[in-house]
């Protein structure tokens, strides 16, 4: 039977009643001085990375347009698509936390651009992600649980293809443009913020209408391949890495070591993903900027489950777990801690740990 992931259903109320909502989560001990140093903001790394990102996007799209209509343009569209539809996911994420740049307006500017690329309303998703950090993978509370149980592989496949995100993005733009919001979204956005949600949606709708009209007017795919479609055809990388974050791990626990996963990745993947492969560390200390996460990892890895050594290694763990969860929604992987780590609190996780 499908679990009730609704934010306004019985499960949501049970999470509140049992104290799982807005709970006090486990943290690895770390000296205040060290943490202050790790949390320090800097503009330089994000300015460098943003310059590289936009330079690559402009180069790839220029070559793609130049080579159209030949199929030789396809690889360049694919590169552009991943930068637009996946690298912008991590930019949306990091700038939403306000940690990418030191200068607030730089964070806000890139956040707006990245939100547009991902078709994620910047106000809605800022609140949604705050809830994801308060109640990570708490059923009925977390609006960003990517893999629901029992697992349906067709739905995961459609997510890899970007179709579910693209469809829900378009639907939400249309709905918000008409000033409509469903009760689940209302449950995490304060009333005074809702007007901003609708205003942004109307601006975006105008941009998409102009893009489609341009495509029709010029009888060319280029405008939609540049704006809008990459959210779909470039989504695969952020789904590939994103499913590793919590896939196959426990629900309804209050220790990120039980529900999040750190995976070592190469430089290219880490550039696209902006170091979110250090996901346990990010959830435990969300105000540490992306460029400091490798250092944070070194400081606290003695207390964390062993990181997966690659994306492939991560999927060797995730896929069999998802397969089992397709028939047994109660199954999950418990990642073993090193001898140096503080053990999981069995008293807090009786249901999860048995």
């Amino acid at each position: 039977m499908q679990r009730d992931y609704s934010l306004v259903g019985e499960t949501a109320q049970r999470a509140i009643d049992t104290g799982l909502a807005t709970a006090d989560w486990y943290h690895t001990d770390i000296d205040r001085k060290d943490m202050k140093a790790l949390m320090q903001r800097s503009d330089a790394p994000a300015i460098r990375d943003t310059f590289i990102l936009f330079a690559l996007m402009i180069s790839a799209s220029t070559l793609a347009i130049y080579l159209m209509p030949s199929w030789w343009s396809a690889p360049f569209w694919l590169i552009y698509g991943v930068l637009y539809g996946s690298a912008m996911d991590s930019r949306w994420h990091e700038c939403g936390h306000g940690t990418a740049f030191k200068t607030r307006k730089y964070n806000d500017m890139l956040y707006q651009v990245a939100s547009f690329c991902m078709m994620r309303n910047p106000i809605e998703w800022r609140w949604s992600h705050a809830r994801h950090h308060t109640d990570t993978v708490i059923v009925g509370r977390d609006p960003e649980i990517a893999i629901m149980r029992p697992v349906r592989f067709l739905s995961l496949l459609l997510k890899y293809m970007g179709l579910i995100q693209g469809f829900s993005g378009i639907v939400s733009i249309l709905k918000y443009s008409m000033g409509k919001m469903n009760p689940a979204v209302e449950s995490f956005i304060p009333e005074q913020e809702r007007r901003k949600v609708f205003r942004v949606a109307r601006i975006w709708l105008a941009i998409y209408v102009i893009t489609i009209v341009a495509s029709l007017y010029f009888s060319s795919w280029i405008p939609v391949l540049l704006i809008g479609a990459p959210t779909i055809y470039g989504a695969w990388h952020h789904v590939l890495t994103g499913f590793l974050q919590h896939g196959g791990l426990a629900e309804n626990v209050i220790d990120h070591r039980l529900n999040s996963r750190t995976v070592y990745m190469n430089q290219i993947n880490r550039f696209i993903y902006w170091n979110m492969n250090y996901h346990v560390e990010h959830h435990m200390f969300p105000m540490v900027p992306y460029h400091q996460l490798p250092k944070l990892h070194e400081k606290i890895k003695h207390d964390l489950p062993l990181a997966n050594t690659s994306i492939f290694d991560g999927y060797k763990e995730v896929l069999p777990a998802l397969w089992k969860q397709s028939t047994d929604p109660d199954f999950f992987v418990i990642r073993r801690l090193p001898a140096t780590a503080r053990p999981y609190r069995a008293d807090l996780h009786q249901q999860a740990l048995g």
């Binding site: 205040r32 705050a130 308060t134 005074q192």
Partner: protein
């Protein structure tokens, strides 16, 4: 209202804070970059996360969980998800001691 001894001046580094609990309430004492001392409630007005692990940047305190930001001199909420200001309390220096005015 009375003046309560919260801590000593050297207990707090410049551009940092110290937690102070009293009578079931929790407060933060801040030392600004120009060595002035301020006091606010200890819990974020968004979801009551304690701000003691947050980063002090010049005259702002950032919630360690959701990036809500407050001006600790006035308590003003500067960044969502906080929409409600922090309560602030008067501070006084008496020799090496920092006192705060609370009920």
């Amino acid at each position: 209202m009375s003046w309560i001894l919260a801590c000593q001046k050297e207990d707090i580094e410049q551009e940092d804070l110290l937690r102070f609990d009293f009578n079931g309430k929790t407060f933060l004492i801040y030392r600004s970059p120009d060595d002035t001392y301020f006091c606010t409630d200890g819990l974020c007005t968004h979801e009551s996360v304690h701000l003691e692990d947050g980063l002090v940047m010049e005259y702002e305190i950032e919630c360690p969980k959701h990036n809500a930001t407050f001006d600790y001199r006035t308590g003003e909420a500067l960044r969502a998800p906080a929409c409600i200001n922090l309560n602030t309390y008067e501070t006084r220096i008496d020799g090496d001691n920092i006192l705060i005015l609370i009920q």
